[in-house]
Symmetry: C2
Subunit: 573 residues, 2 copies
């Protein structure tokens, strides 16, 4: 379990502080993560890795010459915000664009996706090279849906070496994607890990048993079986990967036998003895393997095997030198050394546009609504947390409280400068996503931004504006979250709400909203009958049938409260 | 716990196989451990580290240019044998002598001590640089009695860098000893670890508690207390070490915040944030610190802080480049590159000297006695193991079975070549020490060698020979084991046995031996009343009062059996 911390809520912040203090020669801190201590030469494509923390040395441990230009650091096992990713990318960019590379998880896809859009809007080339190596997480026909696990490491490494060598943007993207296409991982877990400040592990594997294909955050695997011997395990891992070998793989591979934290080097070497023999017997030649802890999950017990089928180009890039806090190879690459312009760029804030009086009045109402939501979430935090702990990690209540509180504060601040409702909701959405992190943070952030974009600055908002805003929010949430109705997510409440709002809007905005909120409340309760189809379901997920989805529930609560406010406004008018 | 293994008895062997397979560019295997894949230049002083395994990257993980020339690899938490240490040293030696460096434990002192004596007899300069950094293990007035823990790392590193730079033998010894004098460590443990194949942890720390100063194998510490926060722990560690600062320490230190296995990098960085601040506030400047897993104890939970007060020379050597499997710094040092004579030396066996017929007859009796002992130990293995598990790690039965079996086999082999009793007992003692490992292995090995040295080749052995042999064995055991009567070790049986044998020898050898064996049996039983005064007592040691010492018991059993054989011989004559 994770025993050493001060304030559990500040664990990641404190971790980054200590990490930077221990490695000042390699990294420096920027908002949202770290970048190299010495900037790369101008014109070099930047490779930025990232994701939730708790996986050291992934991801901040591999920032330095020959490897990543920066790492975006989320909370433990939680996607960093789009703002974080944007901030690190801006600090890492040397004028040739930014390639993000990270494992395929919903929250990361959304947040890095939003960061790419923002960078592109500002004229910076940006691309997400998403890693999908975990063969246990989806069948090969749906390889694009697979999770990213230790395959992150060879993909980051090869893409980074290409950038260091001077590849252009398209070249870096090409080798990153080629490496991902030729990389397969299969992992096992023997025991879970406990987040800082929590009493219970994130998941459990029964004593003497092994979860085959269990994800590094406890996501469901292929099967559970009796604990094997070291050589039996080696055979399971090698057979599992060779069955998935790429058609044009060839005979040369590199391999990573990775420990998750509590499975130590001595044990990994015992397993490696058999793995290396089996790979040789299968006719494969192993080039520069790694045996050790490269992508951990706190002190989880377990390990995984990763194979990357090499070609000459990938082999050269895999073997290229690197010099980072946690991973060094060969002599430090000279191409990454400092230049004089070692000052990081200032990130400009979007300019404030003063709105007409009508817009400012609407903005004030939006602030009131956000204040009311923040108060409501504080009241409901424990209950939402309890609901989430059935099938999730129990942090939904805390995430909603942090997000709505940050949104209300940001909204108040910018409204005081005289802006209209759109600017207020953009600021609120950004703050929510940045402070709450994770999947619900980015969804709420995007929903607020999209809703706000359709509110007018120069006249009072009417029912049709509310319908258009709600539909834009639903579209943004569905695009980012890739959730369908029935997946047991907040879409299950937002979609019927939007439909009812449109149907009832002829009766007046406030009345339509109240009725739509009632429909959303019922729909949220109905999610208790659904079996979750997507998302980060855990081995315990079966138990969540009978419990309403916390995301749909918190949305319905918020919509109801806003309906009450709209009614009060009408009465006052 | 340690879950991945095939045959627990072959765990270390399998681990080394996998380790060498993973790192062929850095290491190659030799009997007893590993040496660099490419030998250092001729005339370079060799630095050889070692000790029990289970501490990766200590010790085999730091073999390579700029760091160690070789590592002697014992079983998990068990000293390697003198033969192992000798073998690795011979392979590492480049004509300028060998400096062994290891932590201060009884078994390691004995085995490396015997290896030094053997190397010196062969004209190779050799020295033991013993590390004594653990301030919790003895008061500062008895600093030489302190255990070696993570201080091994800076001492090995500095000594190795000096050798790489071209220091002569005395120079390497000098900086090793100076580094040790200026190094202090203090550790804490939160939870134990489980050896491969065992069901129960080696020791336990109650949930929510912390053992302050607890050793890396569960040796007793200073106190047990409530689990602190990360910053409280940082303060405990910093205050504990600064109170022990060397008088002429100066202001520059290097620091290692070391994780024991299950306490992960994220937690260590959180602690390091406060440690680095407190050190700065104390006016110390920290040079090139290390935060991570350098000396582990399988998956034990806990960490330690090590400080080495630097001077200009130590700082330069600490910062020097190194290139090893687990630790790399700067560019790979060029001074360690290969030469053409990359063949390792053949180690010559001691020549076989044919004995007269009388000597061969005595040798045959010795073989019979060793066979009988091996059979006895097989019968008693479980009982001795149970006895040992009260205060020890329960491996005494297995160690005695392996040692006596190997001794009997080696004795038979060499006796068949026509040697006398001394040569038989030398071979038997060496085999025992090599196969059993640990403390009892080296003591039995030395006892057999010393006893054998006093048996005549050219006439039958008489009572006086037995007395002289027993006294020589006692002297060897006391010299090596540094145990006093009453310390609850095999000395408690061997000492009264020897005294009674001398007193009763006038009555004939066999009768005197039988009576002395009876005295030894009673003395072994009496150890049940003693509280252990020395040795690797565990937190559970109090419970061992009431249980006889297993080492004294197995010795008394063996002496009794030999007495029976001597009686049978007399009757047959």
């Amino acid at each position: 379990m994770t025993r050493l911390y001060d304030d559990p809520a500040a664990f990641t912040e404190d971790m980054v502080t200590g990490f930077v203090a221990a490695h000042p020669e390699h990294v420096r801190r920027v908002p949202g993560g770290v970048v190299r201590a010495k900037r790369a030469r101008k014109g070099k494509v930047a490779v930025v890795t990232g994701g939730g923390s708790g996986h050291y040395p992934a991801f901040c441990g591999v920032v330095g010459p020959g490897f990543a230009d920066g790492a975006v650091i989320g909370n433990i096992f939680t996607s960093p915000s789009a703002e974080d990713a944007y901030s690190v990318a801006r600090a890492a960019d040397r004028g040739a664009g930014v390639v993000f590379s990270f494992g395929n998880y919903a929250g990361d896809n959304m947040n890095f996706g939003l960061a790419v859009e923002r960078l592109q809007r500002e004229g910076i080339r940006a691309h997400n090279a998403v890693v999908t190596d975990d063969v246990a997480s989806a069948p090969s026909e749906e390889a694009g849906r697979r999770r990213g696990v230790v395959g992150d490491f060879p993909v980051f490494k090869v893409a980074s070496a290409a950038a260091e060598e001077g590849y252009d943007f398209d070249g870096v993207v090409r080798v990153a994607e080629r490496t991902n296409e030729r990389t397969r991982s299969l992992g096992v877990a023997f025991d879970g890990c406990t987040l800082p400040g929590q009493d219970h592990p994130l998941f459990e594997v029964p004593e003497g048993r092994m979860g085959l294909g269990l994800g590094i955050h406890g996501e469901p695997g292929v099967s559970e079986r009796e604990m094997p011997s070291a050589s039996e395990l080696a055979k399971i891992l090698v057979d599992g990967l060779l069955a998935e070998a790429p058609a044009d793989g060839g005979r040369r591979v590199t391999a990573i036998l990775n420990g998750l934290g509590a499975t130590k080097y001595e044990e990994l070497f015992v397993v490696w003895g058999t793995v290396s023999r089996l790979l040789a017997e299968a006719g494969l030649e192993v080039v520069a393997p790694e045996v050790g802890e490269l992508v951990t999950s706190l002190d989880m017990a377990g390990c995984s095997l990763t194979l990357t089928w090499l070609d000459d180009e990938l082999e050269r890039l895999w073997q290229a030198p690197a010099d980072t806090p946690a991973y060094r190879k060969g002599d430090a690459p000279s191409s990454g050394t400092a230049e004089d312009d070692d000052e990081l760029p200032e990130i400009e804030r979007e300019p404030v546009v003063i709105a007409p009086a009508e817009g400012q009045r609407t903005a004030a109402e939006v602030v009131r609504a956000l204040d009311a939501m923040a108060e409501l979430m504080r009241e409901q935090e424990d209950e939402l947390g309890r609901m989430d702990s059935v099938a999730g990690d129990g942090d939904h209540g805390r995430g909603m409280t942090r997000g709505s509180g940050a949104a209300a504060e940001a909204a108040r601040d910018i409204a005081a400068q005289g802006v209209g409702p759109a600017a207020v909701l953009v600021a609120a959405g950004d703050a929510w996503a940045a402070k709450a992190g994770g999947t619900s943070g980015v969804l709420w952030g995007a929903a607020l931004r999209s809703f706000g974009d359709l509110l007018p600055d120069d006249r009072p908002a009417v029912g049709a504006d509310l319908v258009a805003g709600a539909e834009a929010a639903l579209a943004a949430v569905r695009r980012l979250g890739r959730a369908e109705p029935g997946d047991k997510t907040l879409v299950d409440a937002l979609q019927p709400f939007t439909a009812e709002l449109r149907a009832a809007v002829g009766d007046g905005g406030a009345e339509a909203w109240r009725r739509a909120a009632q429909v959303a409340t019922k729909a949220a309760a109905d999610t208790a009958d659904l079996r979750p189809r997507t998302g980060r379901a855990r081995p315990l997920a079966e138990r969540s049938v009978g419990t309403p989805d916390p995301g749909a529930t918190s949305l319905a609560l918020a919509l109801t409260r806003i309906g009450e406010l709209l009614g009060e406004r009408e009465e006052a008018a």
